[in-house]
Amino acid sequence: MVSHGGLLMLLATLTAALFAASLAVGYAPLDLGAATGDAFRGEETVQALVFVELRLPRAILGLLVGFTLGLAGAVMQGFLRNPLAEPGVVGVSGGAAFGAVLVFYSGLAALSPLILPAGGILAALLVGALLFAVAGRGMSTTTLILAGVAINSLAGALISLTLNLAPNPYAAMEIMFWLMGSLADRSFSHVWVALGPMVVGWVMLLSTARALDALSLGEATARTLGFDLRRVRAMVVGGVALSVGAATAVAGVIGFVGLIVPHLVRPLVGHRPGRLLIASGLSGASLTLAADVAVRLIPTRPELQLGVVTAIIGAPFLFSLVWRYRRVER
């Protein structure tokens, strides 16, 4: 049996390998060696430019967004003690997308590059607060999923409404980006604008590790073990809002990553919610990078939305979870 440190090393290596693969895949042949060499020497050849301005920000964003989704999924599942919890399923991602859409198409986002992620973050915060208000203290699976369905439906409808009301004729067709996500043609400006909130969000989420371990024994026991659940909830809602809000604002909704990855990794960490966090983040990064590579290899033009690939893997996976759950609940 691999030690935890060993597992993290393995996952980090996998992530690094897929990061390299993401750099190596694109729409024009690129000699990675020559490109990196040129870039280091400061020579602005076409190779160096494609590498630095197109491939690198795309790969970095894939890494950051994927880590965010894996981490947020693990934290939500640990905190809600519910294996179906995930920012997409419960409506946080959908809400964040609506916040970003509102801010973008109204022209507010043009005032400052930070406004776009801010829109996503605020909306995600509202959804988080709403979820806890609606679902109350004991969140059964049914309540959680229903709340998520309601929020996702509303978010989708509002996004559609906003896009149709937008004065630009392209807007209506852009719904596919927002609801299915994409990392195409991203630049470093997207990376800088999302990096700050994401990292702060990660810190908040990682701080809940021990509380999640305590929560395996129930809320009462966790409280008697000295954990202030109000503070933990604030860290969870705030951390998810910051990281997932910013990620969704620059990449759209990429579903199912936060659902699949914790499940696959949980047995490898002995089902301990605290240890799952970083492992899940790295696995989320790996999955997202792999999907982004696939999207560039599949010969559709323009390229497929990222969420299509994650949904094709994720929806059957979700269904298998429901199937398994059904047998348990009998």
């Binding site: 729409y27 602005e44 301005e53 198409y105 004065p167 630009n168 852009e174 043609d185 630049s187």
Partner: protein, 290 residues
């Protein structure tokens, strides 16, 4: 039974006679008089209509013609009622001629055709002769053949100007439109680019039927002229790729032209303006070469 049959026959006969008398159900033949209530269902048709017809002939143009970002006849359109391309809109004006595009407002056009309206459908011209022919055809339908010919001549003259450039010296060009689409061969844009003395690289690449050009391939093409074809009104993600930082750092340092697509979307005098802009870019590109 036998007694009712003649009654039924009589009813049929009277109905048919009445229909023939009122002319209902029969297509209205174009009268010798020029049309006096023309409705246009298409932006390109609007632009030609507003230039060729007498103002009193025009019953309605589309709402798009009033948008200065999309239309080249925004001021002319202001004096006329607008329609939204729907059948009810059209019938409201009781037109004697409806001008529509071949590929838009299909359901409305089908309805009108069944209703017996006089229709003129405009195709999307791809070559200069096709442009001239379309202008002439509309002019005739409107009863303004001379005006139409004058307009066609004006455009042809603009295209005939300038020395013919041999293939060897042609600078390369790529059109980059919102969402990263480019323009292929066999379109009006391609014709204009060629007439300007440029080589349209978008026509030479294997880009699939949608003509989507990924940024990486744009860089690899290293064009001498980069034509950014967009008019940015309200925000849209479609424009983001046109603002990617990499476009301002292209190693081939192309001449960058920003051109509003409304100049070359439709057959009309504005294509001559697009042509002159591109000619200027071509000249600049040739200068940089030397």
């Amino acid at each position: 039974m036998t007694r009712r049959a003649p009654t039924r026959a009589a009813i049929y006969g009277v109905t048919v006679l009445a229909a023939l008398a009122t002319g209902a159900g029969a297509p209205r033949t174009a009268s010798a008089e020029p049309p006096s209530r023309v409705v246009s269902l298409n932006l390109c048709a609007d632009e030609l209509l507003l230039r060729l017809a007498r103002p009193e002939q025009i019953a309605s143009v589309t709402f798009l013609s009033r948008d200065p970002k999309q239309s080249t006849v925004a001021d002319l359109a202001r004096d006329h009622p607008v329609n939204y391309g729907r059948a009810e809109d059209v019938l409201r004006f009781d037109p004697d001629l409806v001008v529509a595009g071949r590929y838009t407002t299909r359901t409305t056009v089908d309805f009108l055709r069944r209703n017996g309206e006089t229709l003129l459908e405009l195709d999307a011209p791809a070559t200069l002769p096709q442009v001239e022919e379309q202008i002439r055809r509309l002019g005739e339908a409107l009863g303004e053949p001379d005006r139409a010919q004058a307009l066609a001549d004006e455009i042809a003259a603009a295209f005939a100007e300038g020395d013919p450039i041999d293939d060897v010296a042609r600078p390369t060009a790529v059109v980059f439109a919102p969402n990263g689409f480019t323009v292929g061969a066999g379109s009006l844009v391609d014709t204009i680019i060629n007439a300007a003395g440029l080589r349209n690289l978008g026509a030479e690449q294997d880009l699939g039927s949608y003509r989507h050009l990924p940024l990486e391939r744009l860089l690899a093409l290293a064009p001498d002229v980069l034509i950014l074809a967009a008019t940015e009104s309200a925000p849209a993600r479609a424009y983001e790729v046109l603002h990617h930082p990499i476009l301002s750092r292209l190693p081939s340092q192309p001449v960058i032209v920003r051109l509003s697509p409304r100049l070359w979307t439709c057959a009309g005098p504005e294509i001559a303006r697009a042509l002159s802009i591109l000619r200027g870019a071509a000249a600049e590109a040739r200068e940089r070469e030397t």
